[in-house]
Symmetry: C2
Subunit: 212 residues, 2 copies
């Protein structure tokens, strides 16, 4: 969507700057602890501009989750793991890609929508919904490759491609929490390695791997 502004074309328009400020600050402090004034200061805009673009702080939260879904969606769509011929290699390549991002640094790899979900799930239904959409839509992009890998190897356990895609997100979100607790990405990387090991074992064995 075109967003015309000649006022400050260098840094983008106020709306985008606010969204980017929200992405950075909310990831570090959480949604509730981030004030509108703080966001305005960081984005270099005034309160008037904030409430011109967003009806409320909650509306910004929803928009931030949507912006997150857009930008990360583009990042993963352009990632190189899609190039593998074997669907299982694409799935494992996704895990490697996430691992590389985590190894980058703690401020850059944590997930906005995972953080906001925890705070907003009971008190801000609109934000929760936007975060859920971001997480599950992203998980859905993995489903076709998982399903193809299952079919190619004749795997038919008591689990679905959707549940495995969700499990992969579970491991990533959990890894972020323990990384934050530990104060470094080492735990997260180990956990992603466990995830990759699970995927390898799952698609190696023709066994059903029953649970109960």
């Amino acid at each position: 969507m075109p967003r015309p502004t000649k006022h400050d074309p260098e840094r983008g328009d106020a709306r985008t700057r606010l969204l980017e400020a929200a992405r950075d600050i909310v990831r570090a402090q959480g949604f509730a602890a981030t004030s509108v004034d703080q966001l305005c200061r960081a984005a270099g805009v005034t309160k008037g501009a904030f409430f011109h673009h967003f009806a409320s702080k909650e509306a910004l939260g929803v928009a931030a989750a949507e912006y997150w879904a857009e930008t990360t969606g583009a990042l993963f769509a352009a990632a190189p793991y899609h190039d593998h011929a074997d669907p299982l290699d694409r799935v494992l390549g996704y895990v490697d890609f996430r691992r590389e991002i985590i190894a980058g640094g703690i401020e850059e790899f944590t997930c906005l929508v995972g953080t906001m979900t925890q705070e907003a799930y009971a008190s801000h239904p609109a934000i929760r919904e936007a975060c859920a959409a971001s997480i599950f839509d992203h998980a859905a992009t993995l489903e076709p490759d998982i399903a193809a890998a299952m079919k190619a190897r004749g795997i038919a356990g008591d689990w679905t491609a959707a549940s495995l895609a969700a499990h992969m997100q579970v491991v990533l979100q959990g890894a972020f929490i323990l990384a934050k607790a530990a104060g470094g990405p080492a735990v997260a990387i180990d956990s992603v390695d466990h995830l990759k090991r699970y995927l390898t074992l799952l698609f190696q064995t023709p066994s059903k791997g029953r649970t109960t």
Copy 2:
């Protein structure tokens, strides 16, 4: 009634009531969104009592994390999964135990320290530390059984008992987030099943399960 103040031994002392209120409210709303007044109202005490027992809101956060570590520690110490003779059965029994708790209901199974970690890791180092201690001390209780199971089955992959114990916590924490996002525990249960399947596969195969 001009002198309604009579020590109420039925409900416990003010400090414990505040800690319990914090446990319930912070889990639902997050730490920053929970005000001191709200906690006092819920605990049935006044602000004077609050600041008599806690030097600051942050100090309450630390105490709440410690209280959480104590109470959940006792819960897991008394759980029946320790009774199995085989160490691997004890580890799998732990997963079953967590699964049962999750099936109970969304308000009761989410983790206080996981929620607080996300908000406090950058802005409240003391809380982060207390949360980290709670998580990693709990993970450490699983380590001996994992190590024993590894030894008993001659497993020697490129992973440690500590990293697997941490990975189990990762899955649980991540499962809570996706459950909150989805608005129900179904995803979390599926993910815990995947974790159990991973453990079963890991200890079934004598393979090294190399990753890279």
